[in-house]
C-alpha cells in the first residue's frame, strides 16, 4: 500500500473517532496504530505500544507541565482574579470602555501565573459580564471581551502549550516563554484599543456605555473579601458587593503583589539562569501553594477543600495532556517511519513559491484546525510536518511557535469549536452561544492583525530570547 493511502486511512480513523465523540487522545492513538499496522504489521506496532507511555512521558523537561498547571490552579483557587479586576476597574474608570479594559488587564495579569485560559474565562465571565451590562455594555460585546481576554492565558508565559511546542520541536522552552512576552503584551494592547474603538463608535451612535458615576463605587469584588473569593469558587455566582475601602484596596494591591512574585520568581529564575524551566515550575508551584495558605482564611470553601480541589484538577488535567502526548507520539511515530515529514519537506522545498506562501498555508491550516480541535492536539497533529518545513525554509522555530500559538488563540474564538465562547456562554445565564460568537468577531480581526504585525516584524518575537542568549 502506498504511503499516501496509509496516511489517508489513518486520518479517516482519526476523524471517525472524533465523530464518535471519543477522547482526542484515543483518536490520535487509533490513527497511529492503524498506520503502524498497515506499514509494519502487528509485531512492530506492539513493540511501539508497549513503551509508548514510558517513552513519551518520562522526560525531565516534561516535568514542568504539571508544575505550571499546579501553579495556575492553586493561584486561581486563592481567588486573586477578582482583586485584579477590582483594581483594574478603578484604574481605568475614566477611559472609554474602562470596564472592558479592566477585564483585559485582569486576564493578562492572571495569564502571568497560569498557562490556562479556561479558569480566567469562567471566573471573568461570572464577574465581569454582569458588571459591564449594568453599565450599558451590550451582552454580546461583554461576552466577546471576556472570551477574547481569556485567550491571553495560553500565550503569556507560563504557557503549557508553548512548553509542549518546545518538547515536540526541541526548541528551548525558556526562550519560547520569553519570546511570548512581547506578543502577549501586544495582543493585550490590541484588545484594549479594539474595546476603546468599539465603545467610542457606539457612543457616537447615541448608546450609553460606561461613564456612569456609579463606577466610582464599582470595583465589585474588592480585595480578598468573602464575596470576592466566592466568585472565584467554581460553580458560585456573583454576590452583592461592598463599596471599596482602604482595607479592600490594600487587599487588591496584595493580590497584584502575589501575581508579581510568582511571575518574577518563575521568569526571573529562568532568565538569570538560577533555575531550569522545570525547577522554575516547581518553585512557582510552591510559591502558589504558599499564596493559597496565606489567603486560606478568605476562601469560602476553606483551605482543605480548595487544596483538594486544586490537586484533583491538576492530576486530571495532567493526565489529559499526557494522554494526548502519548496518542500523539504513536501518530508521529507512524508519520516518521513512513518518512512523511521528510517527503513533505522535500516536496515543499521543490515548489517554486516564496516562503511566506508556505507559512500562510500553514497558518490557514492552523486556523481551520483551531476551529475544530484543542491547542495541544493541533500541535501534535501539525508540528511533526510543519516545523521541519518551516525551519528548512529558514524561518525561526521560536517565531513560528509563537505564530502557531496565536492561531490556536484565534481557534479558541472561532465557530464551531470556539471553546472560550462556549465557556463564557456556559457561565452567563441568559447568553446564547450565537450572541457570544458575534461578540468575538472584532477580536478575531484584532488577533489576525496582530499575527500580521508579528509576521512583518518577526524581531518583536525574537529580540527578547536573543537578549537572553547574550
Amino acid at each position: 500500500m502506498s504511503t499516501g493511502m496509509m496516511v489517508l486511512l489513518s486520518m479517516l480513523v482519526f476523524i471517525a473517532m472524533l465523530g464518535a465523540q471519543m477522547p482526542i487522545a484515543l483518536g490520535l492513538a487509533a490513527a497511529g496504530i492503524t498506520g503502524l499496522l498497515l506499514n509494519g504489521g502487528v509485531d512492530q506496532t506492539a513493540g511501539t505500544l508497549a513503551s509508548a507511555a514510558y517513552q513519551s512521558t518520562s522526560t525531565y523537561t516534561l516535568v514542568v507541565v504539571p508544575m505550571f498547571i499546579l501553579m495556575g490552579v492553586l493561584v486561581a483557587n486563592a481567588g486573586v482574579l477578582s482583586d485584579l479586576f477590582g483594581l483594574a476597574a478603578r484604574v481605568t474608570r475614566k477611559i472609554p470602555g474602562g470596564l472592558g479594559i479592566a477585564t483585559v488587564l485582569s486576564a493578562a495579569g492572571f495569564a502571568a501565573v497560569t498557562g490556562s485560559s479556561a479558569a480566567a474565562v469562567a471566573t471573568l465571565g461570572r464577574l465581569c459580564v454582569g458588571e459591564m451590562r449594568k453599565h450599558g455594555y451590550p451582552l454580546q460585546m461583554a461576552a466577546g471581551i471576556v472570551a477574547a481576554s481569556g485567550t491571553l492565558g495560553i500565550l503569556i508565559p507560563p504557557s503549557v502549550v508553548l512548553v509542549i511546542y518546545g518538547v515536540l520541536t526541541q526548541e528551548s522552552v525558556g526562550q519560547l516563554l520569553f519570546a511570548a512576552i512581547v506578543p502577549g503584551i501586544l495582543t493585550a494592547i490590541a484588545y484594549v484599543v479594539t474595546i476603546v474603538i468599539l465603545v467610542v463608535l457606539r457612543r457616537r451612535k447615541g448608546e450609553v456605555i460606561g461613564g456612569d458615576p456609579r463606577l466610582a463605587t464599582l470595583p465589585p469584588m474588592a480585595g480578598g473579601s468573602q464575596e470576592a473569593t466566592a466568585v472565584d469558587a467554581p460553580g458560585s455566582f456573583v454576590t452583592p458587593t461592598p463599596p471599596p475601602t482602604r482595607v479592600n484596596r490594600a487587599r487588591e494591591l496584595e493580590s497584584v503583589g502575589y501575581i508579581a512574585i510568582v511571575f518574577v520568581v518563575v521568569l526571573g529564575g529562568i532568565y538569570t539562569g538560577t533555575f531550569t524551566e522545570t525547577e522554575a515550575g516547581a518553585v512557582g508551584a510552591l510559591v502558589a501553594l504558599l499564596i493559597l495558605f496565606a489567603r486560606a482564611g478568605r476562601t469560602p470553601i476553606g483551605l482543605g477543600r480548595s487544596l483538594t480541589s486544586a490537586l484533583k484538577e491538576t492530576s486530571s488535567v495532567t493526565s489529559m495532556i499526557f494522554a494526548l502526548l502519548i496518542g500523539g507520539s504513536i501518530f508521529t511515530l507512524f508519520l516518521v517511519t513512513t518518512r512523511v515529514p521528510i517527503t513533505l519537506t522535500d516536496w515543499v522545498g521543490g515548489l517554486d513559491v516564496p516562503g511566506w506562501v508556505v507559512i500562510l498555508f500553514f497558518l490557514v491550516v492552523l486556523l481551520i484546525l483551531g476551529a475544530l480541535l484543542d491547542g495541544v492536539s493541533i500541535l501534535l497533529l501539525t508540528m511533526p510536518l510543519a516545523y521541519p518545513v518551516v525551519t528548512d525554509l529558514g524561518y525561526s522555530g521560536l517565531w513560528f511557535g509563537i505564530i502557531a500559538v496565536k492561531m490556536i488563540e484565534v481557534g479558541l474564538l472561532t465557530p464551531p469549536f470556539g471553546l472560550n465562547v462556549y465557556l463564557v456562554s456556559g457561565v452567563v445565564d441568559d447568553l446564547k452561544v450565537e450572541q457570544a460568537f458575534k461578540g468575538v468577531v472584532p477580536f478575531i480581526v484584532t488577533e489576525l492583525v496582530v499575527v500580521a504585525i508579528l509576521c512583518i516584524f518577526p524581531d518583536l518575537v525574537t529580540w527578547l530570547p536573543e537578549l537572553m542568549k547574550d
Binding site: G19, S51, S58, V160, K312, S315, S316, A323, G375
Partner: protein
C-alpha cells in the same frame, strides 16, 4: 451497572489522589534540589532520574479520574446532530474500539513492565533507578480508563435500546474544563 460505576469512580478517585501525591512529591523534590544547590552548590543525586518516573506514575494513575471527571478532550460536533439512538450507537462503536485499544496497550505495557523487572532495567544518567515500578502503574492506569469507558458504553447501550442514557462530556457541554 450502578455498582460498576461506583467501583470505577472510587478506584479512579483513589488512584487520582495517589497521582496528586506524586505530583506534590515531584514539586517538593525539585524545590529541595534547588535549595540544596543554592546552599551547598551540590545537587541531590537522583532527582533528575526519579522525577520523570514519578511523572509517569502520576499520569498513569490519573487517567481514570480524568475520564470520570470528563477532563479528556472530545468533541460532540457530529453526535449533536444525530438522533438519540444513532448517537448512542455511534458512540458505542467508538467506546468498543477505544476499550480494545486501551486493553491491548495495557497488556503490552504489563508485559514490558515484567520484562523491565526481569532485566533489571534502569534509568540512564548518573543514578541507575529501576524503571519497573513506574512502568507497572501504566497498565493499571490504562485499565482504569478502559473501565470508565466501559461504564459509558453500558450507558449508551441503554440509549441504543431506546432507554434514557447519560450524555458524556464534550467541549461544548463542559464549561468548567481546562483549555490549553
Amino acid at each position: 451497572m450502578r455498582l460498576l460505576r461506583t467501583v470505577s469512580e472510587r478506584l479512579s478517585g483513589f488512584c487520582g489522589a495517589l497521582a496528586a501525591l506524586l505530583l506534590i512529591a515531584i514539586m517538593a523534590m525539585t524545590v529541595a534540589d534547588v535549595v540544596r544547590r543554592a546552599l551547598t552548590d551540590k545537587s541531590i543525586q537522583g532527582v533528575i532520574e526519579v522525577a520523570p518516573l514519578l511523572l509517569l506514575g502520576a499520569v498513569a494513575l490519573g487517567l481514570g479520574q480524568a475520564e470520570t471527571a470528563g477532563t479528556h478532550v472530545r468533541t460532540s460536533l457530529v453526535t449533536d446532530h444525530l438522533p438519540h439512538r444513532l448517537r448512542s450507537a455511534l458512540r458505542s462503536v467508538g467506546y468498543a474500539a477505544s476499550i480494545y485499544i486501551l486493553l491491548w496497550m495495557a497488556k503490552l505495557s504489563y508485559e514490558r513492565a515484567i520484562d523491565a523487572y526481569d532485566n533489571n532495567d534502569t534509568t540512564a544518567g548518573f543514578e541507575s533507578i529501576p524503571t519497573w515500578p513506574a512502568r507497572a502503574l501504566v497498565p493499571i492506569g490504562l485499565a482504569l480508563w478502559a473501565l470508565a469507558l466501559f461504564v459509558r458504553l453500558l450507558q449508551d447501550l441503554r440509549g441504543v435500546r431506546g432507554l434514557t442514557s447519560e450524555e458524556p462530556p464534550s467541549e461544548q457541554s463542559a464549561p468548567e474544563k481546562e483549555a490549553f
